[in-house]
C-alpha cells in the first residue's frame, strides 16, 4: 500500500497521529511536574484530559505550546516537526493554538479587534503594519462572531463582557487561528448550564476537522463530549479509555477520593 505524498508545509499525519509526546519530564525545584509522560493524540481526535490538581495538566499544555522546556523527552507535531526546537510564536504559526484557563482576552480592544488579531495571516511586523482586512477575512470574522454569539457585542471593549462571554471570545480567537490542534484549558468554568451545552456542541462540531485536547474538571461536561479520556496523576498517565472505563477504574477512584 502506498502512502499519499505530503504537500509542502503540511503536517505529516500519515500514521494517523498528530501529536507524539514521549518520556517527557519536567521538574521545578525538584518537584516533578511531569514524570516520563507519554501521550499520543490522533489526527481529528477530541481528547479529554482529567486529573486532580497538580497532576500536570497545565504543565503538559505549557510543554506542547513552547512555554516550558522539558528536562528530557521528545515532543513531535506530526512525524517531522520537533516542537522542542521552536518557540511560542513558531508553534502557534505551525498550527497549535491554546485557550488559557483564565480567560485572557485583550480588554481594551473591541471584540472584533480581538478576533482580528487572532486571524491566521502573515504575523510579521511590516505585514502587520500595512495589514488591511480583505472581504474573505472580514467574512470569516463575522462568521466566528456568529458562532460564538457575540455579533451584537462586536464593537464593545472585551473587558466589559461577562465571564462566560470572555470564554467564548477566547474560543472564537482559537477558531480564527484555524489551528490543527486546539488545546482548551477549562472551557466551561464560570459558564451557565446553557452556555456549557453550547460549548459542548461547538467542540463536537469541530471534531474530525481539528484535533482537540480539552482539560476540564466538570465531569458532566467531559462525559458529554469525550470519546477518549486520559487521566493524569502525579505527572504521568494513570490510565486511558472511554469515560465509563475510566470512571470504573479502581485506581482512578482511589486517586480522586483518596485512600
Amino acid at each position: 500500500m502506498s502512502v499519499p505524498a505530503l504537500k509542502a508545509g503540511q503536517v505529516d499525519t500519515r500514521h494517523g497521529t498528530i501529536l507524539y509526546l514521549e518520556d517527557v519530564s519536567v521538574s521545578f525545584d525538584g518537584f516533578k511536574a511531569l514524570n516520563n509522560l507519554s501521550l499520543y493524540i490522533g489526527a481529528g481526535e477530541l481528547r479529554c484530559l482529567i486529573g486532580p490538581n497538580g497532576a500536570g495538566k497545565t504543565t503538559l499544555m505549557d510543554v506542547i505550546t513552547g512555554k516550558t522546556r522539558p528536562d528530557s523527552g521528545s515532543v513531535f507535531f506530526g512525524q517531522t516537526i520537533d516542537l522542542l526546537q521552536m518557540d511560542e510564536p513558531a508553534i502557534a504559526q505551525a498550527g497549535i493554538c491554546r485557550k488559557f484557563q483564565k480567560p485572557s482576552v485583550f480588554e481594551t480592544l473591541s471584540v472584533f479587534e480581538n478576533l482580528e488579531l487572532a486571524l491566521a495571516t502573515d504575523k510579521g511586523v511590516w505585514a502587520t503594519l500595512f495589514a488591511r482586512l480583505n472581504g474573505t477575512q472580514r467574512e470569516r470574522i463575522e462568521q466566528v462572531l456568529e458562532t460564538i454569539g457575540l455579533t451584537g457585542h462586536r464593537s464593545r471593549p472585551a473587558g466589559i463582557l461577562s465571564h462566560g462571554q470572555k470564554q467564548w471570545l477566547e474560543i472564537g480567537m482559537l477558531l480564527m487561528q484555524e489551528p490543527q490542534v486546539m488545546l482548551v484549558d477549562e472551557p466551561v468554568a464560570g459558564m451557565t448550564h446553557q452556555e456549557v451545552e453550547r460549548t459542548a456542541e461547538l467542540l463536537l462540531s469541530l471534531r474530525g476537522e481539528r484535533s482537540i485536547i480539552v482539560v476540564e474538571h466538570d465531569m458532566e461536561f467531559v462525559r458529554s463530549i469525550a470519546q477518549r479520556v486520559t487521566v493524569l496523576h502525579e505527572g504521568t498517565v494513570l490510565t486511558e479509555g472511554s469515560m465509563d472505563e475510566v470512571q470504573n477504574d479502581p485506581r482512578v477512584i482511589q486517586v480522586y477520593l483518596g485512600d
Partner: protein, 363 residues
C-alpha cells in the same frame, strides 16, 4: 491618507490645528511686525517656543514606547542627545576657519587638545545630507542594538527601566571624556551657520521654529497612523497581555523593537532641531534626570494618546520657564509634586481627564 478619520477625533484635530497655528503665526509675527507692536514676538520667545516644540516631539516619542507598548523607558533623552550631537557636529564643521584658533578643518576643542587631524567619525559631517541621515540612523542603530539584546532576552518591567537609565548614564560619562572627540565637558557650541545662513538671525530662528512645528505635526500624523494600524493594536495587546500575544503567533520582541527604534529616531530628530535653537549641546543632555523629566511630561499630559504627551511637554516646560526664573530652588519640588498629584489624582493625565468628562455627561 494621514488625515483619515480626524473628524471623529476632536482633541487630536484641535491639537494639530493649534500646532499649525503656532508654527505659522509666531514666526510670521516675529518677522513682520516692529518690536514695539503688540503683535510682535521677540527672538527669545521664538527660540523658547521652538524649544518647546522639540520637547513635545521628544515626549510624544516616549509615549509611543511607554503609553502604547508599556515599556517604561527611562533613557529616551539619550536618543535626543545623540540626534543633537550629530547636528552639533554638522554645525561645528560649518564654522570653518572662523573659530578662535582659525583652523580651517579642526574644531577649536581639537586644536586645544593638540589633535593634528580630524577623527574618522567626524568625516563627511560638513555635508548636511549625511548629518540629516545620521540624525535618525545613529539613535535608531543604538536603539536597535540595545532593544534587540534586551527584548530578545525578555527583559521587562523595572529591570528594563533600570538598564535604560544605565544606558543614558553610561553615555553621559563617555561624552564627558575629551578622548571621545565630542568636546568633553563643554560639548559643542559657538555655532555660526546652518545651510549657509547665520544661525543667530531672526529669519533662521523663525525657520527653525517652523521646521520644528512641521516635523512635530508630521511625526504626530504618522505615529497616529501607526497606532491606528493593526500593528498599533498588537502593540497595545502586548502592553496588556504580553504572553497571550506570543501564543497568537506574533514575535513580541520584534514588535517592541520596531516601536522602540521608531521612537528613538523621532527623539533623534527632536534633538537635532533643539541644538541649533539653543546654540549648544553638552553631555548633561544625557543626564538620567532629563529622561525622567520626559516621563513626567507624558504622565502629566496623559499616556497613550500621543497629543497628551505634546500638551504635557509644553505645559511642564512653560511652568519650568516661569518657575526657574522666579524661584529656581523650588522647581524640582514642584516637578515632584506635579508627578505625584497626577499619578494619584489623574492617572490618565490632564487630557485623559478632560476627554473622559464630556463622555460621562453624554451618557
Amino acid at each position: 491618507m494621514l488625515l483619515n478619520g480626524l473628524k471623529n477625533d476632536k482633541v487630536m484635530a484641535s491639537v494639530l490645528a493649534a500646532l499649525a497655528a503656532i508654527s505659522l503665526i509666531v514666526p510670521l509675527c516675529n518677522l513682520l511686525f516692529a518690536p514695539d507692536s503688540p503683535l510682535y514676538f521677540s527672538a527669545y520667545t521664538v527660540s523658547l517656543i521652538g524649544k518647546y516644540l522639540t520637547f513635545a516631539l521628544l515626549g510624544m516619542s516616549l509615549d509611543l514606547v511607554w503609553g502604547y507598548c508599556g515599556i517604561l523607558a527611562l533613557g529616551q533623552g539619550a536618543f535626543f542627545a545623540l540626534g543633537g550631537y550629530v547636528m552639533g557636529m554638522y554645525l561645528m564643521r560649518q564654522i570653518g576657519s572662523r573659530g578662535v584658533y582659525g583652523d580651517p578643518v579642526l574644531p577649536d576643542f581639537m586644536v586645544f587638545l593638540d589633535w593634528k587631524e580630524l577623527p574618522w567619525y567626524w568625516h563627511g559631517f560638513d555635508q548636511f545630507w549625511l548629518a540629516a541621515l545620521m540624525i535618525v540612523l545613529v539613535p535608531g542603530l543604538l536603539a536597535f542594538v540595545f532593544g534587540w539584546l534586551a527584548f530578545r532576552s525578555r527583559v521587562t518591567g523595572v529591570y528594563l527601566s533600570i538598564i535604560t537609565q544605565a544606558l543614558t548614564y553610561a553615555l553621559m560619562l563617555a561624552f564627558f571624556r575629551n578622548e571621545m572627540g565630542f568636546g568633553g565637558n563643554n560639548g559643542l557650541t559657538d555655532f555660526k551657520d546652518i545651510l549657509g545662513f547665520n544661525i543667530q538671525s531672526d529669519a533662521v530662528r523663525a525657520c527653525l521654529l517652523m521646521a520644528s512645528g512641521i516635523t512635530l505635526i508630521l511625526a504626530l500624523l504618522i505615529s497616529r497612523r501607526v497606532i491606528n494600524s493593526k500593528l498599533g493594536r498588537v502593540v497595545t495587546a502586548v502592553r496588556d497581555q504580553e504572553m497571550r500575544v506570543r501564543f497568537l503567533g506574533y514575535r513580541v520582541e520584534n514588535f517592541k523593537l520596531w516601536v522602540f527604534v521608531f521612537a528613538a529616531m523621532l527623539a533623534g530628530m527632536a534633538g537635532a532641531l533643539y541644538v541649533p535653537q539653543v546654540g549648544i549641546i553638552n553631555p548633561s543632555e544625557f543626564s538620567p534626570l532629563n529622561s525622567l523629566e520626559v516621563v513626567i511630561w507624558v504622565a502629566v499630559g496623559g499616556r497613550g494618546t500621543l497629543y497628551g504627551a505634546i500638551v504635557g511637554a509644553v505645559l511642564v516646560n512653560y511652568a519650568k520657564t516661569l518657575l526657574t526664573g522666579w524661584a529656581p530652588e523650588i522647581w524640582l519640588f514642584f516637578l515632584g509634586a506635579a508627578f505625584i498629584l497626577v499619578t494619584v489624582l489623574l492617572p490618565d493625565g490632564l487630557l485623559g481627564f478632560w476627554r473622559r468628562h464630556p463622555k460621562e455627561q453624554k451618557q
